[in-house]
């Protein structure tokens, strides 16, 4: 099963589509297509697009799931593209020619997005090699330490792989370690003043407050870690009692988690951008009259709105179109915002024509959170019939809970923040001076899934090797401390 090279007619097609894309200003690396049959496609999809991954049952599980849902006709993967340079993309052999066209235009959008969106700037573009490298290392550990041991450890690591600091590549969290710590300040320096002026120039309350701060800082330094640490995986790599091979596996899991994080942070934008470009390229340039019906059918399938679900393709596409339209008309800025005549807003046109430029800028600097925050407008939400839903305990079903714009936006943003994962920090690695690990969940209104949290703590305990604690809030009981130690799980209320 060697992936055949692109047949000549499709190679021609690729050149044609890419020429259109570059005319529009898309900027992408060389794209290499591989033709796959559906089986291989499912298989590569199970490996997240990377043919060489380390052995793990979860890929097998995913493959079974994909195969089954393909067999039942529930889904079909037309295309897949991975963030590498050159950019690899997979086409389904059985696609119609018009599908291949659509898919290639779509892939150009993704490739451009990968290359230019800032959140991808730190990702490793040689990830194919890196993944293969990871696979080889883990295989060698399996040979040396046995499948059971490696798998057990890998499972534990994977269960924590969302505890990363997604902003870390862009933000410097703490100052570089200085060689000689700065001189300890013991007394608060006073401004020079005559005796009788002293209480006014150096007020005693101020001095006392400063003294306290100093004290607090000193306390802080005794804490370990000094600052709450969000990159829990990194923390464990540094401080957990691990064998070298275990540390390496943890590092591999962490590296792959960071590699995939931007894709989860930009799902709406990325799919929206690619859909925007396939529809633009197809309808304006590439489509032949006889292909129209098939194209329309498949495009509609991609961006269909499913009741009660938000289709990222659709939301992204419509938002990009909305932005383009608004910036073309100049429908933004304080003057527009202040205008409260619906009529005037609708017919607002300053003939600016800045739309294209704006969307290219947006695809460069935003991720989903910023994208929704900045560009999801009340008009848009109304026009696209967005709603918030919630679970109704009494009816035991999900119901539309609100059509209020603020509520919708709040909920959407909440789901996108930290790619929809709870925010959890390591706060103390020497809890009660017993070397126990203390994590805090920054609770923002939604509780954790308790059975899962307990199971995850058990995995954390396996890595940390000392009791571990997680402080969180449970709706009915307030602050709760979940613990896992040698005696198994425990929980107690904190207030």
């Amino acid at each position: 099963m060697i992936a055949p090279a692109l047949p000549p007619d499709l190679a021609e097609l690729q050149a044609e589509i890419e020429a259109y894309a570059r005319e529009y200003g898309l900027d992408f690396p060389e794209i290499r297509y591989q033709m796959l049959d559906y089986k291989t496609m499912n298989l590569v999809a199970a490996y997240d697009g990377f043919p060489t991954r380390y052995p793990h049952w979860r890929f097998g599980m995913e493959y079974e799931r994909l195969s089954k849902s393909y067999a039942y006709g529930l889904h079909r993967i037309y295309e897949m593209v991975i963030n590498t340079d050159p950019c690899y993309a997979y086409l389904l052999v059985s696609n119609l020619r018009v599908d291949q066209k659509l898919v290639m235009a779509h892939v150009c959008g993704h490739a451009d997005f990968f290359k230019n969106n800032l959140w991808f700037a730190h990702t490793n573009r040689k990830m194919l090699d890196e993944m293969a490298n990871h696979a080889a290392r883990i295989r060698s550990y399996i040979n040396r330490y046995g499948l059971e041991a490696v798998e057990q450890f890998l499972d534990a690591c994977l269960s924590l792989d969302n505890l990363i600091d997604i902003h870390a590549p862009g933000v410097k969290r703490r100052p570089e370690v200085e060689d000689s710590p700065p001189e300890e300040m013991t007394a608060i320096p006073k401004l020079k003043a005559k005796d009788y002026m002293d209480p006014f120039i150096n007020p005693p309350e101020y001095i006392a407050a400063q003294q306290q701060k100093l004290q607090a800082a000193r306390e802080q330094r005794k804490q370990f870690p000094e600052q709450p640490e969000r990159d829990v995986l990194l923390f464990l790599m540094h401080y957990a009692p691990l064998e070298n091979w275990q540390r390496d596996i943890l590092g591999i899991v962490r590296e792959e988690a960071y590699y995939f994080a931007p894709q989860r942070q930009t799902k709406i934008m990325n799919e929206g951008w690619a859909s925007y470009w396939h529809s633009t390229i197809m309808t304006q340039r590439a489509l032949k009259p006889e292909e129209l019906i098939d194209y329309a059918d498949h495009h509609a399938g991609t961006i269909a709105a499913h009741p009660g679900r938000l289709n990222p393709y659709r939301l992204g596409l419509e938002l990009f179109r909305d932005i383009e339209d608004r910036w073309n008309r100049g429908a933004f800025g304080p003057e527009y915002e202040a205008c409260d005549s619906l009529e005037a807003r609708r017919n607002w046109d300053r003939q600016l024509g800045l739309g294209r430029e704006k969307i290219f800028e947006v695809r460069r600097i935003y991720n989903d959170v910023g994208f929704i925050d900045a560009f999801l407008t009340e008009d848009f939400a109304r026009e696209h019939k967005l709603f918030a839903f919630a679970y109704n305990e009494r009816q035991e079903q999900y119901e539309i809970s609100s059509r209020d714009f603020q509520e919708i936006k709040r909920k959407l943003l909440f789901q996108l923040t930290n790619f929809g994962q709870p925010i959890i920090d390591v706060v103390d690695a020497n809890y009660e001076n017993r070397g126990e690990l203390y994590l805090v969940h920054r609770h923002e209104g939604i509780d954790l899934d308790v059975p899962f949290a307990e199971a995850t703590l058990e995995n954390l305990h396996f890595i940390w090797n000392r009791p571990v604690h997680l402080e969180t809030v449970v709706q009915d009981s307030g602050r709760v401390l979940f613990s896992f130690g040698p005696d198994g799980p425990r929980q107690r209320k904190l207030d």
């Binding site: 099963m1 590569v44 049952w57 097998g60 009660g308 990222p312 839903f389 079903q397 119901e399 509780d447």
Partner: protein, 370 residues
Amino acid sequence: MIYFSVAHRIDQDAGRFRQIVRGQVRRNLRKYMSNGELIGRQGKDLVSIPVPQIELPHFRFGQKQMGGVGQGDGDVGTPLGPGNPGDGSGEAGDQPGRHILEVEMSLQELAEILGEELELPRIQPKGKRNVEGGVVRYTGIRRVGPESLRSFKRTYRAALKRQLAAGLYNPERPIVIPIRDDIRYRSWEVHPRPQSNAVIFYMMDVSGSMTRNKKELVRLTAFWIDTWLRANYKNLEVRYIVHDAAAKEVDGHTFYHLRESGGTRISSAYQLCRKIMTEEYDPEDWNLYAFHFSDGENFGGSDDELCREILEEWLLPRVNLFGYGQVPGGYGRMFLDTIKKIENEKLAYATIKNNDAIYDTIKTFLGKGL
């Protein structure tokens, strides 16, 4: 990029996954056996098993409180339809849904797990006389046959022999030309493969005192007996007999749902069982199994004696195994006490107190390896 190794790799990962599933099912077998989750999920050869804890756990939000954002018509309060509305977070397609994983497993595989976990001995079937089909093997040669089976080597060998015998063969110019008579064809033989047949008779008391819960216990027990015996016999038939004061044969559905109000005469069922066996199942050819479930109430001591007589004199000598399962709730003298008096290694009995006892019941019934 090279893909040929990928397929091999996914087979390994999928194989490992199935192994883990097997382990999970095995660990939770007692639970599956007691709560009847698997019944109704069973197709012809496959059973679909919900495996809860196979997903890798993460710290994640509780789903119900979370809610989400969707798109479409409807006023506040409009339900979104049953089940999960899917991830509203724009991650559709990115992650598998939060469903309990269901894996399909063949009944054969399930039976193997059952056998391993309960340490059930393999059944030695009796009666190898029943022949069902056979394997076709190409073993011989003959002079007639279809052209597609022509054997070139044999044909030319025959031609060579003929030419040598007739003195037509010239070693200087070794040309061998077969004629019609030389042509040989491959021939086949059908190797009979002995097959063993089995029949299970389920008998149950459906008198007024057998409530739905008690029948559920019977149903669960019967499911596992079926699963195990089906794995051991290629050809398995199941017959159902219900009885109160009189017995009759019914189909499977009726068996578990029928409710009569009469009294109880167990011997009526045993007699009917004997009748059907005599007429249709020769013990020489069939592996006979009979299981009887009741709450232990029986009308009068004389009927107990009659049952004992039928069992000892007629049924036990013929069947591979006779199982008696007593569900709770009966009053007074228990039929089980009568059964206990019979000493025969083909007889197994158990009290099925509640769902948890099914596990041990199966072990008692099938642990004999008969």
